[in-house]
Homo-oligomer: 333 residues x 2
Amino acid sequence: MPELRKDPVTGRWVIIATERSRRPSDFVREAPPQLAITLCPFCPGNEQKTPPEVLAFRNGGGANQPGWTHRVVPNKFPALRVEGELLREGEGIYDKMNGIGAHEVFIESPDHDTALADLPEKAMEELLWAFRHRVADLKKDPRLRYLMLFKNHGEPAGSSLLHSHSQLIALPVVPKRVREEIDGAHRYYDFKERCIYCDIVRAEIADGERVVMETEHFLTISPYAPRFPFECWIVPRRHGSHFENMDTSITANLAWVLRMLLRQMDKVLEQPAYNFMIHTAPVQDGPLTYYHWHVEVIPRLTRVAGFEWGTGFYINPTPPEESARYLREAGLV
Amino acid sequence: MPELRKDPVTGRWVIIATERSRRPSDFVREAPPQLAITLCPFCPGNEQKTPPEVLAFRNGGGANQPGWTHRVVPNKFPALRVEGELLREGEGIYDKMNGIGAHEVFIESPDHDTALADLPEKAMEELLWAFRHRVADLKKDPRLRYLMLFKNHGEPAGSSLLHSHSQLIALPVVPKRVREEIDGAHRYYDFKERCIYCDIVRAEIADGERVVMETEHFLTISPYAPRFPFECWIVPRRHGSHFENMDTSITANLAWVLRMLLRQMDKVLEQPAYNFMIHTAPVQDGPLTYYHWHVEVIPRLTRVAGFEWGTGFYINPTPPEESARYLREAGLV
C-alpha cells in the first residue's frame, strides 16, 4: 500500500510508492527502450494489458475492445489506490496517511506514435471532455480533495511510454503548491476585491508584449515571472474557479488554443519535451471569486539544478517578452 | 542587467538573466561537448580565462597564477551582479528589482577530470573553508540577505563544465522555499519549545532505520519524507543556525562525512549525477534557537514531471528506510 508522508518542517507531503519500489540497479539512466506496437498496453487489440476502462469514446466495438478513439483506464502501477478508508496516523514525531486516491491514464488516440500536437483537433477535444467526465465522477468521493490533470510528453518531461497519454491523480489532501497559489490569489482579492488572474488578463491584453495568442475565450501569455524559458499560461478570459465547470461551449476553443500552442512550441523549439498541468480549485470547494483556473505549459529545455532545489528560486535565461515574440511569430501552424 | 521578477500570485521570485539570454536554437538538448584541458577555464595555466580570483589556497605562485589548490572566482556569466544600488520598483501590476547579488565559482582542485568524491579529503576540507571565508566576507554587504552554497555534479544535475566546482549565489531577498523551512521550524519551536531538527536527530538515532552514518559531530539520514530516492541530509548533532558559525574543530569531520556519503552513493548508484545544497539561516539574522543548518544531498535518478511541477507533491519510488540500508551496507569506501 503506498503511503503519504509529511515532511515535519515544511509540511510538504510525499507519496512513498512502495508498490513501485525500485532497487538501486533499477535506476537506469538511459532512455527506456520503447515497446513494440504489439506489446504497447495503450494500442488497440491490447486492451487486456490494462485494468478495465473507466471511460471510452468509441466508433464501435464493446467495452475493452478495439473501436475506441479515446480510452481512460486506471494506472496499472498506481501511485495511490482508491480502495479502503483514509487513515491518518502518527509515527513517532512524524505524520502519515495511507495512500488513498486515484491514478488514471487517458490514452489520447489509438495511434501508437503520433504526438498529441499532431493528432487531429478532435483528439484534443476528446481529451478535455474525458478530463471533465472523470473529474465529475471522482468528485463524488468526499475523500478526494484535489484532482490533478496533467501530461508528460517526452522522456525529459518524465514520460516513460511513447504512446500519447495524459494522467489524472486524485489526492486526499490539497497539495502545498496549489494551496500557495490559491492563498496568494485570496490575499490579492482581500486587498483589491478583484481576481488577480482577471487583472493579469486585462494588463497583458493592454500591454501586448507577453501575449502569444488571444481568442474569443482564452488568452495565451508567457507570464511576467516565468520559472522556465517558453513557459506559457492559457487563461480563460471569463472568470471561473473550476476547470470542470467551464461552459461546454468553450471547450472546443480551449482544445484549439492548447493544440496551437503545442504546435507553435514544436515549430520554434523543434519538438521539445513538455509538461502541461491544469491548475484548478479543490474539487470539494464551491465556486471561488478569488481563484481562476488556467493551464500551464512548460517545455523542458533547461535542467533544474541545486540552486533551484535549495531555494525555489529559478534562473530563467529567456525573458518572457522574447518567448512570446518567438511563439507569436510562428503564426498559425 | 539581470532582473528579479516576482510572480504576483505566489510571491515566488525569478531571476530573468538577460545577459545569458538564449534564443530557441540555443537550447541544445544533447550533453554539451566537454572542453579540452587547454581550453578549460578552471585549469591551471588558464587563470586569465576567468575574472580575477577573490580567494585562493595555494602552495606557491602569485594571485591568478598556477600553484593554487583551491580557487574562487566570480562567475563570468553571473546570474546576479554585485555593482549598483538595489532598486525595487513596480511595472504595472507587477513587482521587480534589479539583479543585485553575487555569483561565485569554487574550483575544487587543479585536477581537470577527478570528481570531488575521488579527490583527497583535503579538497573537500578546502571547499568548506572557502565557503566559510566567502560567506564571512559577503555578509558584510547588508544588501545581501541570503547566501546559497551548492554543487551541481554531472549533466543531469545541471552542471555544464566537467572540471569539479561548486557555487555560491548571494541574493537580495530570502527565497520562498528557505523562508518556508525556517517558518516551519519556528512554528514547531513555538509549540514545543524545542528545535525540530534536534528532535529529528534524537528520534532518528533512537530508531536507527533511516540512519546512514553517525559520527561524533554529524548524523547522516535518509529523511522520513524524502522527495527523491536516496535523498540524504547531513545534520550537525549540536544545535546551530548558521553554517558559517560552525565550530572550526568540526569542519574536518563534516568534510569526511560528506565525502563518505558521496562515495557511498557512487558505489551504490554507480556514479550518479547529484546536487548538494547547504541549508542555513539568512546571513543578516543573529543566531536562531529554532533553525538548524544542515546539508541536503540529492542524487538525480528520476525525472521531475508534470505532477510534481503542478502540485509540489513528489512521488518517491524508494522508501527512505531502503535507501539508508543500501548506503549503510556500502560500508566505509
